[in-house]
Amino acid sequence: MAGTPVQVTGTVLTTRRVDAYHALTVVAPGVAERFRPGHFVSVAVGGPRTSMVTRRALSIHDVKPDYGGTVELVFTATGPGTSWLAERRARDTLDLVGPLGRPFPLPRDPASCVLVGAEYGAAALFPLADALLERGCRIDFALGAASADRVFGAMRARRMAETTTLTTEDGSLGLRGSVTDVLPAVIADTHADAIYACGPMETLRAVTAVAIEFDIPVQVAVEEAMACGIGVCMTCVLPVIGDDGVTRMVRACAEGPVFRGERVRFEDVGTIPFDALGAPGGGVRNVG
């Protein structure tokens, strides 16, 4: 059954450093066979007697059929939970729930797609690139980060894509600047039909602005802090415009993490827009 999440106790197969990031390969059969590009997993951190009660949502970088199905998770150690994860070694076990979220929609016919990744958000683009290539799509990568060691997957992108454009803020790799600075040129050169983007909210906002300018569809995978990842805690919401034109506070985990870029109200992330459904003092009220 595709999409239905499962909870599994996975065994860590390998751990490695990828530039500034950590990568864990975990044997997780139920998760691997249900996976589609864009899905994520949530991982319990700290062990069985931990004081850390919330799970950590991690994007899936790679899925392989080996050992009944493995998933590779890429993350950066920013707090006690991810630092604990970074200390895992081969044969340790991990409690995983997945695959979670809504995956990337894929074009029906072969199309030219630009894949934009900032920092380790780029990790989620590689299984997407595989799926697009299988469908006969042309893919082009634009990857960026603050510095050379934070650009994720440059080598692999070069092997897979027609072109790969790299940017760093400090100019230590590729072009100096942000990934969105080069995006208009990449779109023009590749005659792109669609854009897929992963990374921080600010990057997604800028990518969406470029896509709107070129009038091509853009799918973005948002990063929001989540406590559960399965849609029950209601903490990972952001304002998104629905098919009916009404803005709702939707969950990044259950309704996302992939959204059509132009539907996400990036300027209003972190607020409740006055015209959102159920916004205080305004919006579409339904007072009985």
Partner: protein, 322 residues
Amino acid sequence: MSVDMRTFLAHVELANPVTTASGCAGSGRELAQFFDLHRLGALVTRSITMAPRAGRPTPRMAETPSGMLNAVGLQGPGIDAFLERELPWLAQRGIRTVVSIGGGTVAEYSALARRLTDAPGVTAIEVNLACPNIEDRGRVFARDGGAAAEVIASVRSVMRYDVPVVAKLSPDVADVVAVARACVDAGADALSMINNPLGMSIDVDALRPTLAAGTGGLSGPAILPLAVRCVWQVHAALPGVPIVGVGGVMSGHDALQLILAGACVVGVGTALFHDPYACLRIERELEELLQARGFHRLADAVGLAHRPTSRHLLVDSEESSL
């Protein structure tokens, strides 16, 4: 021999004592991806409000030592959408459903109760008294026995008598027993304790409160002792009133503490964020613990810690600090 896990929430029989806690089970569909919801004692919905609510801005969540803060702000679709989409889905499947309601005025609570009176599939009503009373400068109903009693009386008066009314109490009060007594006197058939106590966390990098709303409700293992204390005090004062013990239950061991303190039903909240199967695991662990202690019926353990015991027994079970 297995333990008889049946319990009563007022006069309604539940197959087992483990329910979800309000606001921690989504609409039911999310957990149904993992297991059959019939295996729950009951599903408690998020607090349903009259109008749709967008809730609070993000960040809404912060992890704290052995717990988490949340400031979701009762986000939900409103009673119309709930009656149209969410409740029928649960009712058609025959899932025991406790509907939590929240409002800003007494009239809003009674209007909500009226809308639910004839709705099929409502096992009980839980009245979330931790909502700000907009008629009283935003002071929450649960802070004041009089205001809480007024809400309970208004809900009780319009609700069918075969549907129990459960008052959900907050621990952020000087005297939880006084509020509990006021609610029972006003017609509450059962009490649920505890709602999240208020807490706060500061982001020391941003030099700002971590939550957009500033303060938030504290949940998780950090509040279990607070819940046990409230259940204990209220059961001691009102031994005949059924109590739903909620707050920081992560294991069967935690659930048993609440039961021994006087709860006959146990709500599981934050544990569901960590483990979607938490309710089933806790129920199984609870049954094993009861069995290991020679209980044949869960009901025999309810409030048992209040039983006077000899000094000799107490000394035996205590670890010496000397």
